[in-house]
């Protein structure tokens, strides 16, 4: 029933050194809260993405711990200050143990 979560990330391709820019992320996921009941009155088990981690060149720069109160198809944006060129690794961690990963390159040039 559930579709495979697809991450979508917007990172500018090229930035100036020292520039502070916004990174916007979105992933398709039903974020089942564990609070709802099905038509038979049984609680639908919780299944959410509980953690989002952003790394740059292997170093963690931002983390978000999500609770069931986060909306379906969770959106997360945050900022990053450009220092050097490299690669972002964004990881979404699901309750069921799966990880969804997106990698995005960043070029820093004056």
């Amino acid at each position: 029933m559930s579709i495979k979560p697809t991450p979508r990330v917007r990172v500018p391709a090229q930035v100036k050194p020292g520039e502070i820019f916004e990174i916007k992320t979105l992933i398709s996921h039903e974020m089942e809260s564990g609070q709802r009941k099905d038509s038979a009155g049984k609680t639908i088990p919780r299944k959410i993405i509980n953690k989002f981690v952003a790394e740059f060149n292997g170093k963690t720069v931002f983390e978000a711990d999500w609770n069931p109160a986060i909306s379906a198809n969770p959106y997360q944006s945050f900022f990053y200050k450009a220092a050097e060129s490299g690669e972002f690794t964004f990881t979404w961690k699901d309750d069921d143990g799966s990880n969804y990963v997106s990698k995005n390159k960043l070029t820093v040039a004056a």
Binding site: D65, F78, Y80
Partner: protein
């Protein structure tokens, strides 16, 4: 239906039973967090440390038409250098089944302690935001959101 009749027919009894059953189905069974629950969560994280005001810009809509998707933006004033930065930000709600919404961990590499996401709100309630600075100081901000349609889908 004649209520003062001594005998109740089988049909009447069944109608009454189904009505009661339907009412039970409609009655909310969910329990909600409240202000003490949020205070308890904060105490669990930081004990009885003093909560200062200011520095936090908590941006939520005054009225949310759809409680399923309510944008929440937090921005904390900070130079974000290695010596002085925002370590963590926690967002709580006092009228949801669970008090926690989101916890962020920032690093100086962020350049700016600001993050946005979207949350579910079950009813009209207060949003509480706590920011932990690198020197250990705590700041708090609070905002009320009026919810027209709750986002709990119970």
């Amino acid at each position: 239906m004649v209520w003062n009749s001594v005998e109740t027919t089988r049909r009447e009894a069944l109608t009454l039973a189904s009505m009661l059953g339907f009412a039970a189905l409609l009655a909310p069974k969910m329990s909600f967090a409240d202000e003490p629950a949020v205070a308890a969560e904060i105490k669990k994280l930081y004990g009885d440390k003093k909560l200062e005001s200011g520095k936090i810009k908590l941006d939520v809509p005054e009225i949310a038409e759809n409680g399923l998707v309510v944008p929440v933006n937090v921005e904390v004033e900070s130079p974000m250098t290695d010596a002085d930065y925002v370590k963590a930000v926690h967002v709580f709600a006092d009228g949801n089944p669970l008090p926690g919404i989101v916890s962020y961990k920032f690093t100086p590499a962020c350049g700016k302690a600001s993050a946005s996401t979207r949350m579910r709100l079950a009813q009209t309630q207060n949003i509480v935001c706590i920011a932990e600075m690198s020197n250990g100081n705590l700041h708090m901000a609070k905002a009320n959101v009026k919810v027209t349609i709750g986002g709990c889908g119970g």
